[in-house]
Symmetry: C2
Subunit: 278 residues, 2 copies
């Protein structure tokens, strides 16, 4: 194949790795791709590794041996994440976001792909070490968050529906009690959407008592799947008892006062947890 | 700031550009960031430009002058797009996808972030030249496609809801007739979700006669917005009359026979249109 100079090779390999997170790439792939010696490729990777780590993009894991190669693990440092989340907390505190009933408008922020990418990187950092098969969410607002996370973890996404659509085929449905309005609701997942015994990461945009996430867990037990992690963008801090024990939140909203249009948004429990092991 | 060698700078600049599509970056930004002369930065950009174009990642537009800089325009060549779409058409032709009523199961394919990224690049290539403010879709399956497209175009996403959620605030609702089941349905968009007179790109996963997209257009007229383009992943080839005149499709399904579980999926009208001007 084409023979590239180091400079061009570095550009090429950088984009190749960035678009293939959590994928083991044998050194021979690069060596053949660029018609270069493995030793040159190793030197290139050392340069890329250093920049990636310095820039907070993630780690390059090098595996030696016959089955060896290099794997890009996107990871955003907690300090940088906290900076981003703090900015976002300020935005969420704008009084005009408070809707009747104490709800908070955040569709505009969830509409920013750049912000979602950052959040996706944070969840991917938080759950990088878990052995996962799939990322799951429930429609609607969790969807872009789930995809952003799945992109960085290199996993497929499964979407739980609140209705039962004809375009999904046979499905499993369960009833659950939504924490926010205490109504009984239905959610369903197509039979063919999830393999039995899958290991699942649940992602959602907002969690009050956790009724919806509890519902997803019940639904997953119908597929004999295991929940390996739960990530929510914003949790409500005004809950006495959670229906979900273990979860990771990036932000926490409390003190919502519809009358004065006041609320307090602070970084979530992700930033209280132990510093990630490196 | 840090002083980087050319090799490290190339890695850095590559990732910097890839994560900031359709954004004008002044050369001084790079010069200051790396503590380097503008002439060195220009040489770096020339190397990156060549690799990006050769790899089908996109173009680097360089603007001279005081307000100048560099802008990364993601573009995937049509030949490469066609290769990807052809593979996907084969997958869609699997007989087990045909559901009762002649519907087609494609949630598994829409659950693959890698595939969505490719589709996002294709739509971003198709609509790169239009003057756009926002990408719009209707829940549910169009959402990941809209975000993938918006990421490459550096635009926000607006999601039309099929119900009227309390967490969205005051909204504009319209009724429309869905082509697939001839039922009257409702869709709504929060007042604050879209600025008046926005220029909109509509993205959706599937189009039969175009009733849903027609509905989105009617909804947009309530916001005095202009539709600048319509992109659908799959269109049905078995429609006598379309409610939407101009649209770009990436694939076309025809000859669906529920009984024999047969269907034909071919590349869409995007591949019949004039070769993109470069």
């Amino acid at each position: 194949m084409k023979k590239l100079k180091r400079s061009a090779r570095l550009v090429e390999m950088t984009q190749y790795l960035l678009f293939r997170p959590h994928t083991l790439i044998p050194l021979t792939t690069f060596a053949e791709r660029y018609n270069s010696a493995k030793s040159s490729i190793s030197e290139d990777l050392a340069i890329i590794k250093e920049v990636f780590e310095e820039e907070g993009l993630g780690q390059l894991h090098t595996l030696a041996g016959a089955a060896g190669g290099v794997k890009f693990i996107p990871k955003i440092p907690k300090a940088l994440s906290l900076e981003i989340i703090n900015k976002y907390c300020k935005q969420l505190e704008q009084p005009e976001r408070i809707l009747p009933g104490g709800y908070m408008y955040m569709s505009d922020i969830l509409g920013q792909p750049q912000f979602l990418n950052e959040v996706g990187k944070m969840f991917a950092s938080a759950f990088a070490g878990r052995d996962l098969d799939v990322v799951m969410t429930v429609e609607t607002k969790g969807i872009p968050l789930a995809y952003a996370t799945a992109t960085y973890l290199n996993l497929p996404v499964v979407i739980v529906r609140r209705d039962n659509r004809v375009t999904e085929g046979s499905a499993v449905s369960i009833n659950y009690v939504s924490g926010s309005n205490k109504r009984i609701q239905t959610m369903s997942l197509a039979r063919r959407a999830l393999k039995e015994e899958s290991k699942v990461l649940i992602i959602d945009d907002f969690m009050r008592a956790g009724g919806t996430i509890r519902g997803m867990m019940d639904l997953l037990s119908e597929f004999r799947a295991t929940v390996k992690g739960v990530g929510v963008l914003v949790e409500s801090g005004e809950v006495d008892e959670h229906l979900v024990e273990e979860y990771t939140s990036l932000a926490k909203v409390s003190g919502v006062e519809s009358r004065n249009r006041q609320l307090l948004v602070t970084p979530g429990n992700y930033f209280e947890q132990d510093e990630e092991k490196r």
